[in-house]
């Protein structure tokens, strides 16, 4: 393997060598190289195998559009599949592997697919692998995956940091070529906030490889001066290595900055990639244009490359892509390649110009007109070509140019379709609402002077106008040649998907003629490059066979992302433990000290049970329940939603929110309330207390706290803004604990200051502001979810753990023990209290046995719709209790209820089990259920059918209150 590195030139640092490996072999390159340029410099041409036919493939482009040179980069948790060798910056120690070859790149078993080519034509998935069906899973799918898969993903966690950030600007400039630099410079001089983003490792765009002259200097020198000025201007942010991938509502742009992809391991605390959301008042799309391949026989053989890429490798990276080149072009720009190659000592055998007329471009190279290449000779590397007149030319490099496509992707991501411009034979950006404007060659301006002027004009809208420097223009004229019909061998339209011109024709013949159907049928335009090279050719070929214009055929839909974006970058720092925020109760520390096991409840983590050594969750919960029912227990209920409702109209407002009445509630008292939705279904429940005439303290369920707050805000702001009421969430201000059990009063009496807790001074449903522990503000409520004589005590959150410890200490002599959400749930089921499983968005208050709470004297949310016939029907499923006839049977949540002798079917369904619990007090599993006409069916024996476990047994319907129906304990 001999060196293809040119002796001089290029933007590489020859003084430093970077070592890297490709497929385990060691190579060397220089700072400034990409992986592709370094491999090409080392004479490495064969970089991958194609998707379907496993044909040898090499580098085609010098950038983002690369469909072939996809590699697995890095190893272990940092491995990234399908990365483009043409955009990977070389670093010392880089490790890459080729993909889609088995067992090795040089000898690939799958290449036999080429011989079986008729099987693999467009639509092969649908046709071949459909029958017999069972073969799909067992045989075809695994085989296809192995043969046709792209790179493989790592199964290890990615050890690197990813980050998200927002940025704001007056003008976002996307692309830092001549047009982008002019736009940014003009705006910067007007002192507005500018962000200049470019996907390249170095700013300058095409000026990094095209030999231009601007303002009497080289294009590169001019660019360097402009970039230096921008870098020193306040309010200008330069973002190299940043791909703007999406344009979204509100003129927000998504971008990925590859902060540390150019080093093996990011420095400590630095992210690998940063996901920017750029909020731009205006944006300029100066993304340039993409050169197209020509579709001809063997146009994928390693050594066939885009003409502009050949220039980029020689001018920017000092790499000669071959020794003897042939240029195949349908436009003037191909001549630049011939010129530049000769300048660096590469022989140019001929320019094959498909146009009959002479080009305006100078070349000094033998040029044949009105000729095309029909065949490329060579397998793993080009060794020659054959023209349509039969002439054979020896060469090892074919530089092709099928014209240029403005890069309009971003401008089309919000629904607008690009417009065909026949003068340049390319689609140009559609008119937009002005918030994103394409300039330069992205707008179809193909001359350098036009690009500079266009950029300057856009950037000068902020006040200062910018003089356009003089420059030399290269000729640009194009006469379309989409495909060489007389091609020998496969002529590829989409390299990555191995879609050929024949596939497009087949698709059309088989009736898939719409451009979107052709895309799906042939897979043209899919996968990582999204048809950056192939789409326009495919559209043109389709237009030709359909006898329509390119405009009539149109493009497929443009969507984000412009280039692939890693999941890591989209997730940012929010993965693993930080997937979502964790919300801790003020009693978390107290519960942790007592050995609690925690459970996720929305974002909250709540103490679920407090096991003693060796206890299972069930044994622990069983003990906690008994202790609360027989002695006294403490439970953290801080997560309940708590809303302070105040104002002259607070009572009137609550009357409209709840189906029952609160204006009649006495000061110092609490009341259980139910809110409905406007459609008459129950929404939430909770206890609300009146602290003073115009001050209420509302509680909601933990699960609905946020929704209730939003609902309250809606009702006040959108429905009744005339009410004098205000409300604020105080959920987090108060640590709240339930103290329940026969010894609850005795325990609390030791904690409160100056209050005697008796049935007269503090009766059931009393609610008062008091102090505890020698002066700590507190609120005490005599309410009960457990059915025991119970209280809920609120103290300011910072005192929560201290107060809970004090209660534990006070209750020590009574045998106090903490209980968690499991015991809480058991006790509420024993008492037939409804919770989320019953307030489930389908039940009415009447269904839950709470129909009498619905006032008939006032307007409230849900009143009218709750009176609908269907919601009053006698046959509705309503709340019942349920016990197994055989005490040993375990009722399971979700089981369905059937008449005793019915078999399970939808028609026979009578209802279902909504909540189940092991009842320590009844010594058996008990349930709450929603049963058709359930209230009238207490005592009926029916079948409980557990479809998941395919079990059924008999159960008896009973009152939902399983335990202490007379509430003797509550009032004890």
């Amino acid at each position: 393997m001999t060196s293809h590195r040119l002796p001089q030139g290029g933007l590489i640092d020859r003084s430093a060598a970077l070592q890297f490996t490709f497929d385990g072999k060691h190579f060397s390159g220089h700072p400034g190289d990409t992986l592709a340029s370094a491999l090409l410099a080392n004479g490495k041409r064969l970089l991958g195998r194609s998707f379907k036919y496993h044909r040898p493939r090499g580098v085609i482009s010098a950038g983002t559009s690369e469909p072939n040179a996809l590699v697995e980069l890095r190893e272990d948790g940092r491995k990234e599949a399908n990365t483009r060798a043409t955009t990977i910056e070389l670093y010392d120690g880089l490790i890459a592997k080729s993909q889609n070859r088995w067992p090795s790149l040089n000898f690939d078993v799958g290449a036999v697919n080429s011989l079986a080519a008729p099987v693999f034509v467009a639509g092969f998935y649908y046709k071949t692998f459909m029958w017999p069906k069972s073969f799909w899973e067992k045989l075809y799918e695994p085989a296809i995956r192995r043969m046709a898969g792209l790179g493989s993903a790592s199964k290890e966690p990615d050890p690197d940091l990813y980050e998200k950030s927002y940025a704001h600007c007056d003008l976002l400039v996307i692309g830092s070529g001549p047009a982008g630099l002019m736009a940014a410079l003009a705006a910067a001089r007007s002192n507005v906030r500018v962000i200049l983003a470019d996907e390249g490792s170095r700013l300058g765009g095409s000026l990094l490889f095209e030999k231009e002259e601007i303002g009497g200097r080289s294009g590169l020198d001019w660019a360097s001066e402009v970039i230096a000025e921008l870098a020193s201007t306040p309010n200008v942010t330069l973002l190299p290595r940043t791909t703007v991938f999406g344009w979204y509502d509100g003129n927000i742009f998504g971008a990925i900055e590859r902060v540390n992809d150019h080093v093996a391991v990011p420095p400590p605390h630095e992210p690998r990639q940063r996901y920017w959301r750029i909020i731009a008042k205006r944006a300029v799309l100066a993304a340039g244009a993409e050169e197209r391949p020509i579709v001809f026989g063997g146009n994928d053989v390693p050594g066939v490359m885009l003409a502009s890429a050949v220039r980029a490798y020689s001018n920017r990276y000092a790499v000669a892509c071959g020794r003897t080149a042939v240029v195949f072009t349908n436009n003037d720009s191909g001549y630049r390649t011939a010129h530049d190659l000769r300048a660096c000592g590469v022989a140019v055998e001929a320019i094959v110009d498909s146009r009959a007329e002479k080009s305006g471009a100078a070349s000094g190279v033998r040029t044949v007109h009105a000729r095309t290449i029909t065949r490329v000779i060579g397998g793993k590397s080009v060794s020659g070509i054959q023209l349509n007149d039969g002439t054979r030319l020896e060469c090892d490099l074919v530089a092709m140019s099928g014209g240029w496509s403005p890069i309009v992707n971003l401008a089309c991501q919000r629904g607008a379709k690009p417009q065909w411009n026949p003068d340049i034979a390319g689609f140009v950006s559609p008119p937009t609402n002005g918030s994103l404007v394409a300039v330069g060659s992205a707008a179809g301006k193909m001359l350098l002077s036009e690009c500079l002027a266009d950029g300057a004009a856009e950037g000068s809208q902020y006040g200062k106008s910018l003089a356009v420097p003089k420059c030399r223009d290269e000729a640009f004229a194009v006469s379309p040649l989409w495909w060489v019909k007389s091609s020998k061998g496969k002529a590829f339209v989409d390299y990555q998907n191995d879609a050929t011109a024949d596939d497009i024709l087949l698709s059309e013949r088989e009736g898939y003629t719409d451009v979107e159907h052709v895309k799906r049928y042939t897979t043209t335009g899919m996968a990582t490059d999204q048809g950056k090279l192939g789409n326009v050719n495919a559209i043109a070929i389709l237009a030709e066979v359909k006898g329509k214009t390119i405009e009539e055929v149109g493009t497929t839909t443009f969507r984000p992302f412009y280039t692939p974006v890693s999941f890591g970058a989209l997730a940012g720092p929010f993965s693993g433990k930080h997937f979502q925020p964790i919300r801790k109760s003020p009693l978390h520390e107290w519960a942790t000290d007592l050995g609690a096991t925690f459970v996720d409840a929305g974002l909250w983590i709540r103490s679920a049970w407090f096991p003693k050594q060796g206890e299972t969750w069930l044994a622990s919960a069983d003990r906690e329940v008994r202790n609360a029912r027989e002695r006294v227990g403490v439970c953290d209920v801080s997560t309940l939603g708590k809303i302070d409702v105040q104002g002259k109209d607070a009572a009137a407002f609550l009357d409209r929110l709840y189906c029952n009445t609160f204006s009649t509630l006495a000061i110092g008292r609490a009341r259980y309330g139910i809110m409905l939705r406007e459609d008459g279904i129950t929404f939430d429940d909770g206890t609300t207390s009146r602290l003073s005439d115009d001050h209420f303290f509302m509680t909601t369920t933990t699960a609905n706290a946020g929704r209730v707050m939003s609902h309250i805000e809606f009702c006040h702001q959108a429905l009744w803004p005339d009410l004098d009421v205000s409300y604020v969430s105080v959920t987090e201000q108060w640590a709240q604990m339930a103290v329940a059990g026969p010894k609850a009063r005795a325990t609390l009496q030791k904690v409160v200051d100056d209050v005697t807790l008796s049935d007269t001074t503090f009766p059931y449903l009393a609610a008062k502001e008091i102090t505890v522990l020698g002066g700590v503000t507190a609120r005490l409520f005599r309410i009960s979810f457990s059915g025991e004589h119970a209280y809920e005590l609120s103290v300011p959150a910072d005192y929560g753990s201290m107060a809970a410890r004090a209660i534990m200490k006070a209750g020590e002599e009574f045998g106090i023990a903490p209980y968690g959400t499991e015991a809480l749930s058991i006790m509420r089921i024993e008492k037939g209290h409804v919770a989320g499983a019953e307030l489930n968005g389908t039940t009415t208050a009447a269904d839950l046995g709470l129909g009498r709470m619905m006032s008939t004297k006032k307007d409230y949310i849900g009143r009218v719709m709750a009176g609908r016939e269907g919601l009053l029907s006698k046959n509705r499923q309503c709340l019942v209790g349920l016990r197994a006839v055989n005490k040993a049977d375990r009722i399971r949540g979700g089981s369905h209820l059937l008449k005793k002798s019915d078999s399970p079917s939808m028609a026979n369904d009578q209802g279902y089990v909504s909540s189940v619990a092991w009842s320590p007090m009844l010594d058996q599993w008990i349930g709450l259920a929603l049963l058709a006409n359930g209230r009238e069916r207490h005592g009926e024996v029916l079948t409980i059918f557990d479809g998941l476990r395919n079990k059924n047994f008999l159960g008896e319907v009973c009152d939902p209150v399983h335990y202490d129906k007379e509430n003797t304990k509550l009032h004890a």
């Binding site: 940091l161 980050e163 998200k164 950030s165 927002y166 940025a167 704001h168 906030r193 420095p267 400590p268 605390h269 630095e270 992210p271 959301r277 909020i279 720092p573 929010f574 930080h578 979502q580 925020p581 964790i582 919300r583 801790k584 109760s585 003020p586 520390e589 974002l603 909250w604 302070d644 105040q646 104002g647 002259k648 109209d649 009410l723 004098d724 205000s726 604020v728 105080v730 959920t731 987090e732 201000q733 108060w734 030791k750 904690v751 200051d753 505890v772 522990l773 020698g774 002066g775 700590v776 503000t777 300011p796 959150a797 910072d798 005192y799 929560g800 753990s801 201290m802 004090a806 006070a810």
Partner: protein, 186 residues
């Protein structure tokens, strides 16, 4: 029961430990401190009292008043006895505002230093450029999936207040974002 004066427990006790963290090579660009114990009181204008409330708030001494929504403010003070600010406002603003103590419900974190703005920009879509977000200005926004109240209290100084339950989770996020600049915890 105990006559010992109760001590407020910070939700970030044991989490926000003093020291120097993050990038070992850079001079710390961010300083983080937890303002605890602080007094924070929500004040909402009663109907047709917005102007009177604004005037009354302007006369308050030894505390800061931050916008916190429609005719709604946070009054914040440091070094007050627990509940003192709340009681004071109850007296002074009686009849024109709803007063609700949030001193325990919210925690305030101060972020300062040359990279403070960059650190916060990783979380909030609010434009923190000093021309757009000047000293004294507040915003209600989301950072790290948590709703926060953000105020610029100085050229390079911001205060974030949020529900105490999220404090630990938010702190971990904030510390990671400041990591690349290096940060000091006071």
């Amino acid at each position: 029961m105990p006559e010992q004066k109760p001590v407020r427990a910070s939700p970030l006790a044991g989490v926000a430990r003093p020291g120097r963290f993050g990038s070992p090579t850079k001079t710390p660009g961010v300083e983080l401190s937890v303002l605890h114990p602080a007094s924070i009181v929500t004040v909402i204008a009663r109907k047709d009292c917005a102007d009177r409330l604004r005037d009354a708030l302007a006369k308050l001494k030894d505390c800061s008043v931050y916008w916190a929504g429609f005719q709604q403010y946070y009054v914040v003070a440091e070094g007050r006895a627990d509940d003192a600010l709340h009681r004071e406002l109850m007296e002074q603003l009686s009849g024109i505002a709803t007063i609700s103590d949030q001193s325990h419900g919210r925690i305030i974190i101060r972020i300062s230093g040359p990279n403070a703005r960059q650190t916060l920009a990783k979380g909030t879509p609010v434009d923190l450029h000093p021309d757009e977000f000047a000293v004294g200005k507040s915003a209600l926004t989301q950072m790290s999936h948590v709703v926060v109240h953000l105020t610029r209290t100085g050229k390079d100084t911001f205060e974030v207040s949020l529900f105490r339950g999220f404090a630990e989770s938010f702190w971990e996020w904030l510390a990671q974002q400041a990591g690349e600049f290096g940060y000091r915890v006071a």
